[in-house]
């Protein structure tokens, strides 16, 4: 649920930023506010807007109680139609559509060779989504659609995000209704398996995040490496910018919204 809240907050924020970049200010402001409302749901869950302190080795540190469940359900019910309407306003406005369509196009073949991940990859027709391909936790029981678009332009990157926002809202709805049991883990003294290599793959809002840890004979950490989705997607952005005017840079840049420090992580 935390992962989906994070996805919604960031996608909504990104769509608002795209709107601002084509000088269509109403959705830009509304999205900025709604993004905050989703971050505040994470705050409600674990006391931090970015989910810091929530996840610990082996599980989570904060469980949903009925009060929080109701509060969350109420907030989502209030926000969902607003999100839907604002995003419809954004994507149905002819001026916005004219700017988004055909801007920064990347072909499926190029995207495949560059290994684009997340919404940027899906916008080019690559259906890869770690939630579907490597389902962990409860994802195996959820229907995650493929969300593949084919045009590979800013429009496709925006549309994938809009679709994912609405799906994530549904996922949270169903998780709130299903009431899965969460048990909290306390922080035990961490004992890692000696001489081991572990790799994890998760679908973060930008795409696949991979953590890799290598331990020594005593279970101490020898190496720890994080691969951020931006590592793949910066090359997609440079592909988008081939032979385009400089005025298309900001829009393309926002449509990927990559991490500057994530590249060399």
């Amino acid at each position: 649920m935390a992962l989906e809240l994070e996805r919604i907050a960031n996608h909504v924020g990104d769509l608002g930023a795209l709107s601002g970049d084509v000088a269509f200010l109403p959705p830009a402001n509304y999205c900025g506010r709604m993004r905050g409302d989703f971050l505040n749901m994470t705050l409600l869950l674990c006391g931090n807007r970015f989910g810091k302190g929530l996840v610990r080795p082996g599980g989570v540190r904060f469980a949903l109680d009925d009060e929080i469940r109701q509060d969350l359900a109420g907030r989502i019910a209030e926000l969902a139609p607003q999100v839907e309407h604002v995003l419809a306003l954004l994507l149905n406005t002819p001026g916005v559509r004219a700017r988004f369509e055909g801007c920064g196009r990347v072909s499926r073949g190029d995207a495949d060779q560059l290994g684009l991940v997340g919404p940027a990859g899906r916008a080019c027709g690559l259906p890869y989504d770690a939630r579907r391909v490597f389902p962990t936790e409860i994802y195996g029981q959820l229907e995650i659609p493929e969300n593949a678009e084919s045009t590979g332009d800013v429009w496709a990157r925006a549309k994938v995000r809009r679709d994912e926002v609405m799906q994530s809202i549904d996922i949270i709805h169903s998780l709130l209704d299903d009431r899965p049991e969460t048990t909290c883990v306390e922080q035990p003294p961490l004992r890692l398996a000696p001489d081991a290599l572990a790799v994890t793959v998760n679908e973060a809002w930008r795409g696949e995040v991979s953590h890799c840890v290598l331990t020594d004979a005593n279970g101490g950490i020898l190496r720890y490496k994080i691969k951020d989705p931006s590592f793949h997607n910066w090359n997609g952005l440079s592909m988008s910018l081939r032979d385009t005017g400089i005025s298309d840079f900001p829009l393309n840049n926002k449509s990927y919204n990559l991490s500057y420090c994530g590249f060399d992580l």
Partner: protein
């Protein structure tokens, strides 16, 4: 057009009435910690040992707000007996020494540089320098421009160049590669200038303390006027600190 108006109507006015009306944060929010000095030594020591940030001084029974990442370990271990996190988001301080605390921070307004109030009280332009943090601090500064907080209504703005700024706001642990850029930004800001450190990273190196790639505290490079603790500080913490210090 109709759709624009319909959305405008549905969105309504979202701007908070803060500071006239206070903002209540949820119960799990970890704001200012309060330390109870009357606990057995072994409990205080257990908390200090479990703190990933070496932020707890078990003997003095104090907590270093600049190092703390508000993970809540100490509160859990002591069951709230030794350290308890309150919903109070007013955490900014003007002197580094004030960061070491038992929970009663000195009045920020009284310690603010009075001449800054005259100079910048009505208009304050700030340049943000993101120096290798995780980006959460920057994100929660950024949101001050969204309708709920609406920082611009207080005459405070973030600007695109240090040449246009009255001061800098620094986030992140200032990696070796960002140091030159940070110093150049500082030099490029016209005097008199303000320096604000935001987040555990900029205050002490945060989770990166001990690495030789970073700077353990912005104050070792520049004279810092305002310290805002948190990981990241809640936007209300930033807003409160800015308003109290400059208004």
């Amino acid at each position: 057009m109709l759709s624009v108006l319909k959305n405008r109507f549905e969105q309504g006015c979202r701007t908070s009435r803060y500071p006239k009306v206070n903002v209540q944060l949820p119960s799990r929010y970890r704001g200012r910690p309060v330390v109870n000095a009357d606990v057995p030594a072994d409990l205080a020591e257990a908390c200090a040992a479990a703190c990933p940030q070496e932020a707890i001084d078990a003997k003095a029974r104090t907590l270093h707000l600049g190092r703390c990442v508000f993970c809540g370990n100490c509160e859990r271990i002591s069951g709230g007996q030794f350290v308890r996190f309150t919903q109070n988001f007013e955490n900014g301080v003007a002197e580094k020494a004030h960061l070491v605390t038992q929970g009663d921070l000195p009045d920020l307004a009284a310690h603010a540089r009075q001449h800054f109030k005259g100079l910048f009280g009505r208009s304050l332009q700030l340049r943000q320098v993101s120096a290798a943090g995780c980006n959460a601090c920057e994100a929660d500064l950024n949101v001050l421009a969204t309708p709920f907080f609406d920082l611009a209504r207080f005459g405070i703005n973030f600007v695109a160049s240090p040449r246009h700024a009255d001061g800098i706001v620094v986030t992140g642990p200032i990696s070796r590669n960002m140091k030159t850029a940070l110093m150049q930004t500082y030099e490029a800001t016209p005097q008199p200038r303000v320096v604000i450190a935001v987040g555990s990273c900029a205050l002490s190196g945060g989770p990166f303390r001990g690495s030789n790639e970073i700077t353990e505290g912005l104050d070792s490079l520049l004279p810092v006027d305002l310290f805002i603790p948190g990981c990241p500080p809640h936007p209300m913490t930033n807003l409160h600190a800015l308003l109290t210090f400059f208004k």
